[in-house]
């Protein structure tokens, strides 16, 4: 799966994984080191089957910063915006901090348990029966009732059925099919078939934009807020 054996069997966060890669090559954190490990890190990041969603944004950000760094290393003439330079500097700073703390933790481990301090042993107690004056059966029953009343109840999470919404891919396919057979179709007509849910109109619109982007169709809007007419780009022979 991964191009190198990960130290911990569990998923590693991006900074840890990146620092591992650098340390394996016995380098310190620097522009050069980061450029060198970029490819390894990218393969590692793309190698997961179940990518934990929470970490994906972090990974994507670090991947893009590394690519920037590597590009700069390959094309010294490349000029970076101040924001891009800031991102690179920030990544290096965070990695250097992590590097420092890792080194410190190894030192700490050596000292652990070397010279502990001790409390005196518990002295043997000769118990004398010395109850408070107010003990009674009723008191204890009331105490127990109080204890039981504050016990945490298991939360039952409300369950809501997820609504099925048509996917963007399906919408794109649908539009492609209909427009190739009709050569020209208006947006109002197209989205009318899926008008049941408002969200589907939005998805229809996105499908149209995607096909325009791909160069499959051309969209023309006559007047502001007017209907949009979509035509196929392909001048193939119409099929009957």
């Amino acid at each position: 799966m991964s191009p190198f054996t990960v130290k911990h069997p569990q998923f590693e966060g991006p900074l840890d994984a990146l620092l591992d890669l650098i340390e394996r090559r016995e380098l310190h954190v620097s522009d050069i080191a980061l450029a060198k490990v970029t490819d390894d890190f990218l393969s590692y990041a793309t190698s997961f089957n179940d990518f934990p969603l929470a970490e994906s944004a972090q990974f994507a950000f670090i991947c893009s910063t590394l690519l920037l760094l590597k590009s700069k290393a390959l094309l010294p003439g490349l000029s970076l915006t101040s924001e891009e330079q800031g991102s690179i500097a920030d990544l290096e700073r965070r990695l250097k901090l992590l590097e420092r703390f890792r080194a410190l933790s190894r030192g700490l481990q050596k000292n652990l348990g070397i010279a502990p301090l001790y409390l005196p042993e518990e002295r043997a107690v000769e118990p004398i029966f010395a109850p408070p004056s107010n003990l009674s059966l009723a008191l204890f029953r009331d105490m127990m009732r109080a204890v039981l009343s504050v016990l945490p109840q298991a939360e039952k999470l409300a369950q809501v059925a997820m609504q099925k919404v048509i996917s963007l891919e399906e919408m794109i396919e649908d539009l492609k099919e209909r427009i190739t057979s009709a050569l020209r179709i208006s947006f109002k007509d197209f989205s009318a078939t899926h008008k049941a849910e408002r969200v589907n109109i939005i998805i229809s619109f996105l499908a149209m934009l995607e096909l325009v982007k791909r160069g499959v169709i051309v969209a023309v809007q006559g007047e502001g807020h007017g209907d949009i007419v979509m035509e196929t780009e392909a001048l193939g022979t119409p099929r009957y």
Partner: protein, 183 residues
């Protein structure tokens, strides 16, 4: 570290008297050396709240004579004070469960019980025995004197015993299942 300081550390940690012979063996020195060190220690502890006390055989670190009235006052207070709500709740759980481990108590109450258990032990309200299943673990049980004070001969005679015990049992079982599922 000098011998008097070493003896001081050992006596403090042991919290009980030791014979001079034991000290001599522990430190691998003869009795003369021990006696000299003890003399040093006694001198250094003058005007402190702790004193080195010895009879022919044994030595111990005890509170100094000047402090005895003070300590007596605290002891009396500890033994006669009313129990706070937290202590009463803990004692109630111990009664209705007819004995519980520290962990079981903290499970139900959700807070640390160490200090409370020490008080209940000292005042003869609960006693401590090793758990049958695991002798590293202690069980705290209501004392017979407590039953006697409350006018009952067994835990089952506590008011609403069956209802409370079953409710408690249901809670413990449910949390056990939830914890097991999370692991």
């Amino acid at each position: 570290m000098k011998l008097d300081a070493q003896i001081e550390a050992l006596l403090f940690w042991r919290s009980e008297a030791m014979t001079k012979r034991d000290l001599s063996r522990a430190f691998g020195v003869n009795l003369v050396a021990i006696n000299d060190a003890l003399a040093d220690l006694r001198k250094k502890l003058t005007e402190r709240g702790i004193a080195l006390v010895e009879n022919g055989n044994e030595v111990a670190l005890l509170t100094s004579p000047e402090a005895s009235a003070l300590v007596e006052k605290f002891r009396k207070e500890e033994m006669s004070a009313e129990l706070g709500r937290a202590a009463l709740e803990t004692l109630a759980i111990i009664l209705y469960k007819n004995g519980a481990t520290r962990r079981e108590l903290e499970y139900v109450r959700g807070v640390n019980s160490t200090a409370i258990l020490r008080t209940l032990l000292m005042r003869g309200l609960v006693s401590r025995t090793a758990d049958q299943k695991d002798d590293r673990v202690f069980r705290y049980e209501p004392t017979l004197e407590l039953f006697s004070l409350l006018g009952i001969s067994r835990a089952e005679e506590l008011p609403e015993f069956a209802g409370i015990v079953s409710e408690l049992g249901a809670f413990e079982k449910e949390t056990e299942q939830i914890t097991a599922a999370e692991l």
